[in-house]
């Protein structure tokens, strides 16, 4: 990661908020991935002796159980894994599609650029919720559909950002030098344009992850996302809301996981942006 490397890491280290956010994210991810080995409960088993039981250490239901007696610890961790996975996959799509789309539109310019940007405008004009409901009605509910629908719109802003950067890079002399050196359009875009937009791309991708997680939770909360018996943070929160007064832990446990994850991802993204932005440092 080249020129961004050492300097940026040093500047990032100088930001305690970003560093602690990163540590907390790492801890949450480690718990989500390794947690199941620490506790015998799984996500599906119904424990009839402890239905809607509060969090205790003796019963091995560390975070309590839900209405059906399923272990909330296991379900929250599974939900966190799903949420983070969707966030990461959608960011990957947004990087792959958005960066190449934006760089091509910006570099080639002219009519191609016009056409490509109109396509983006049409896509971003789609009311997202309506779009998701529409897809759900046609194809039935499935997790893959969630990936597709989030991926379909997640790259739009990235493409716009990259196009904007590319427009200014295209005017730079080193691009003229590359043309004069006999490099073809594809090579120039891949080797001389894209590496130079990597800074904003990383930052925006980092900030995309929490956005997508939030959006996924929102869809799941509405019942459009992950379906029973699967769990995501959104479905768990939706269940928890129903029992909020009698069994507050059902809301608080997945809710605080989501809140901590989103907060830390945002803080880290902000810190990364400041660290990579040489001009304001």
């Amino acid at each position: 990661m080249s020129v961004l490397g050492d300097d940026a890491i040093r500047r990032l280290r100088a930001r305690p908020a970003a560093v602690s956010a990163l540590l907390i994210i790492t801890a949450v991810l480690l718990i989500a991935l390794l947690g199941p080995w620490l506790n015998p409960n799984n996500t599906q088993t119904l424990d009839w002796l402890h239905v809607a039981a509060g969090p205790t250490l003796q019963s091995a239901h560390w975070f309590g159980t839900d209405r059906l007696g399923r272990d909330l610890y296991a379900r929250t961790l599974a939900g966190a894994r799903v949420s983070v996975a969707i966030g990461l996959v959608a960011s990957m799509i947004s990087i792959l599609v958005g960066v190449s789309y934006g760089a091509i539109a910006g570099y080639i310019g002219g009519r191609t650029d016009h056409l490509m940007m109109r396509v983006i405008e049409i896509l971003s004009g789609l009311p997202l919720i309506f779009f998701v409901i529409f897809l759900t009605v046609i194809f039935g509910r499935s997790e893959y559909l969630l990936f597709v629908s989030i991926g379909a719109v997640g790259w739009l802003t990235m493409a716009r950002i990259v196009r904007g950067q590319t427009l200014s890079i295209r005017q730079q002399e080193y691009i003229a030098a590359a043309v004069a050196g006999g490099a073809g359009t594809g090579r120039i875009i891949a080797k001389h344009v894209v590496p130079n937009v990597i800074g904003p791309v990383i930052v925006y991708a980092t900030l995309t992850v929490p956005q997508i997680i939030l959006f996924e939770s929102f869809l799941s909360f509405l019942g459009l996302g992950i379906q029973e018996p699967g769990a995501s943070l959104g479905t768990l929160i939706a269940e928890g809301v129903g029992e909020m007064e009698a069994a507050p832990w059902m809301l608080l446990v997945p809710g605080s996981f989501l809140a901590v994850l989103l907060l830390c991802l945002n803080i880290f993204g902000d810190g990364l942006r400041d660290a990579l932005d040489v001009k304001e440092a």
Binding site: Y174, A177, A178, V179, A180, G181, G184, T185, H192, N196
Partner: protein, 329 residues
Amino acid sequence: MIPTLSVDELTVRFAHRTGTLEAVAGASLRIEPGECVGIVGESGSGKTQLFLAAMGLLRGHAKVSGSIRFAGNELLGAKAAALNRVRGSKLTMIFQDPMTSLTPHLRIGTQLAEVLVCHLGVSWSEARSAAVRMLEHVRIPDPKRRLKQYPYELSGGMRQRVMLAMSLLCKPDLLIADEPTTALDVTLQAQIMELLRAARGETGMALVLISHDLGVIAGLADRILVMYAGRIVENAAADELLRRPRHPYTAELLKCVPSLSGPRLARMPTLPGQPPQPGEVLQACPFAPRCPRAAERCRVEPPVLAVAAGAANATNAANAYVACHFPLS
């Protein structure tokens, strides 16, 4: 012999809201193999545009007409793929500002090796070792370490050497140097010029030196072309042009070169007036408004570039051309 570069009646126009701007107006020139040609002119005289057109670097809104042939092959209107075979290998260019001519996020080694991999299809490791040899050649100390560095870690002079190394990698037939030393200080300027001279001596390539500084060009050029308002107004062997300028504009330019040995002047001599603004309506001879020798004829009849009187002597056959009704003799 086929000239390395031959430009015929080249016109470069830009569409502009006030009308069409003519950056180059019917310029013709020939560069023979191995020849070093200097191009001088004030800012905006079209000297850079002429060669940007040759490299196919003008943006879409420039309208180029005429003909530019490189080793006999027409470059104007050629397909990008065909252009890319010669650009960067046989026909190379280095630019005015070395600070911005290298891609900032790629290592020097990658940028240098890419040229060879791209044009000659050699392996990356071969290309890297060739890059090291070429960096040594342009006298960059510790070239192996430089390959791993980024452009921002190098000074301006160093970067211009890297650019030079890059343009020499494929043994070009013609190197166009667009004000290669303008952004550098004087000692570096001398070193870069010396490198250009040496490179030309070794490879036998032709060299075009674009500059507004006659002093930079005089030491190296075989022939000097003077441009004014998009036209070539004088074209003569370097020593002839410097000793005996024929176009009044050349003469005035030469007067503006400060001399170390002459009497100390109270004021730098300057050329009165301004070069024509883009879009300005020109007189038949665009230099007429500033010319001490201008007469009525200059305002009605455009002068054409023709063999200067008295230049076609036996030894220096037809090597001085001037576009002036009343050339100095």
